[in-house]
């Protein structure tokens, strides 16, 4: 299970990479993709959609089940990773490269976990 040192995380297993104060990329963690299993479908918001921190903004589906993905920040979707729509398996293969959306105009955010805190959370999860 990989946790990258230069990202922040949420309790619901999303990662966030801030490009500057009000712009960030959002994706699912390695731990999340491992527990979900092979993903076969991803549903993303559309460019221009508003997002609210802590609310569902996407979903991913494995053969077995659907899972919600929560947006860690309040802002506007400026870009979606269209590659994932055709190749959701990229989330399994390289979870920290497979960003879901780019959010700009960020005005609010969830309480984030540091890499160390997130690693701790996952350890407890797996016990």
């Amino acid at each position: 299970m990989k946790v990258l040192g230069d990202l922040v995380y949420t309790k619901t297993h999303e990662w966030v990479r801030f490009e500057d104060e009000t712009t960030a990329l959002v994706g699912l963690t390695d731990h999340a993709q491992q527990s979900l299993g092979e993903l076969v479908f991803v549903n993303l918001p559309e460019e221009g959609d508003d997002t609210t921190a802590g609310e569902v903004f996407a979903d991913v589906e494995s053969v077995k089940a659907v899972s919600d993905v929560y947006c860690p920040v309040t802002g506007v979707v400026s870009e979606i990773n269209e590659e994932l729509l055709d190749s959701p398996e990229k989330i399994n293969e390289a979870p920290y490269e497979a960003w879901f959306v780019k959010i700009t105009d960020i005005t609010d955010k969830e309480e984030f976990l540091s890499p160390e805190e997130y690693e701790e959370l996952v350890k407890k999860d797996m016990e």
Partner: protein, 360 residues
């Protein structure tokens, strides 16, 4: 508290992801994952622990009469060693369970029922038996291992010559690698394959012997997840999804196993004939974007047309598909429908079942 099958320790050894299912702890998948396990069965072979299934012996002078009255199929002309699929209906024509009956000898039958229904089925049989007949639930003594896939026969031939030649036939007093077992040529995957019934004490040895014999064909263990996607892709109904106490077998396409010409059987007076059906089971192939699951509303021409009963992404076919029970007017192949998936509209098209049929 979930029960463990005799293969529980084996599942842990092979890193099975254990989940509760029908009162047992069983692997939903192993390390390779559902898609690879599914593909193994379609292209090579896979090994399943299905020890949770129920086994009931029916014997006595009136065994045949009892089966013919309890079940919708006709068992009169069965040969010893033959297997026959049948629904079991309630008085209203709804389905109590679907099961397989093997004729073991004259006046003795071996019945295999769904795990989640075994107690209900057994009680039902006891409540409705007539005359000289005994039913005995032997589920707790019996393990079942399914070897499924096009390479199954080659693998099994390394260990035994007790191989039923025809599909839906069984060798009762067989031996596989010296272990006494019943070898049945049946399965729930849409592929050729075998189901081995044996005493619990031999289950681990049998599993490991099969894994070793299958290694040259890259035989892998498969979990409940692949079992479900395989049966769905092959268009096979599953109790609790395509059928239940309120769905009759004829409307979901099991008319071949409902013999209306038989004298009488439980549920007969309430079963429709094929021409008077108001709703039917169909396949849906997703033409839009999304995966359809069970119990989702299906619309056609803007009106409610029915509901889905199972759905997933089909690993071998590579597209999402579902089964649904729809009003008869919307069941023609090619009919365009919309399925409401968590508030979102997903476009789909009615197709003929099964989605997948193995090549001969």
């Amino acid at each position: 508290m979930e029960l463990k099958t005799p293969l529980y320790e084996i599942h842990l050894k092979y890193h099975g992801k254990m989940v509760p299912f029908a009162g047992y702890l069983l692997p939903i998948q192993y390390e390779e994952g559902i898609i690879k396990e599914h593909m193994a069965v379609r292209t090579r072979a896979g090994l399943f622990d299905v020890s949770h299934m129920g086994e009931i012996i029916c014997k006595g002078k009136d065994a045949l009469e009892n089966l013919n009255r309890l079940l919708t199929n006709d068992f009169t002309d069965m040969e010893i060693g033959q297997a026959r699929y049948s629904p079991m209906c309630n008085e209203h024509g709804g389905t109590v369970d679907d099961l397989i009956v093997y004729k073991k000898k004259e006046e003795e039958y071996f019945i295999v029922v769904n795990a989640s229904n075994k107690e209900k089925d057994y009680q039902w049989m006891l409540e409705h038996k007539l005359g000289e007949v005994e039913f005995e639930d032997i589920s707790d003594k019996i393990a079942q291992i399914a070897l499924q896939g096009p390479r199954s026969q080659e693998i099994l031939m390394k260990l035994t010559s007790d191989i039923p030649e025809k599909y839906y036939h069984a060798v009762f007093d067989g031996k596989v690698a010296g272990i006494p077992c019943m070898v049945s040529r049946t399965g729930y995957t849409g592929e050729d394959g075998f189901e081995l019934y044996l005493e619990n004490q031999y289950a681990e040895t049998m599993w490991e012997t099969l894994m070793e014999a299958g290694s040259e064909y890259v035989l892998i263990p498969c979990g409940l997840g692949a079992r479900d996607t395989l049966r769905l892709e092959a268009g096979m109904p599953l109790y609790g999804h395509e059928m239940n106490d309120d769905i009759n077998p004829v409307e979901i396409g099991l008319g071949f196993a409902v013999k209306m010409q038989k004298d009488d059987f439980i549920g007969k007076s309430h079963l429709p004939n094929k021409d008077s059906l108001t709703r039917k089971r169909v396949g849906l192939r997703v033409t839009g974007r999304g995966i359809i699951r069970e119990q989702e509303e299906v619309l056609a021409e803007g009106k409610k047309a029915g509901f889905t009963t199972s759905g997933t992404h089909c690993p071998y076919l590579g597209y999402p598909a579902a089964m649904a029970i729809l009003d008869k007017e919307y069941t023609a192949a090619g009919t365009k429908v919309t399925v409401i998936v968590r508030g979102r509209e997903v476009e789909a098209e009615v197709v003929t079942l099964p989605f997948y049929r193995k090549s001969k």
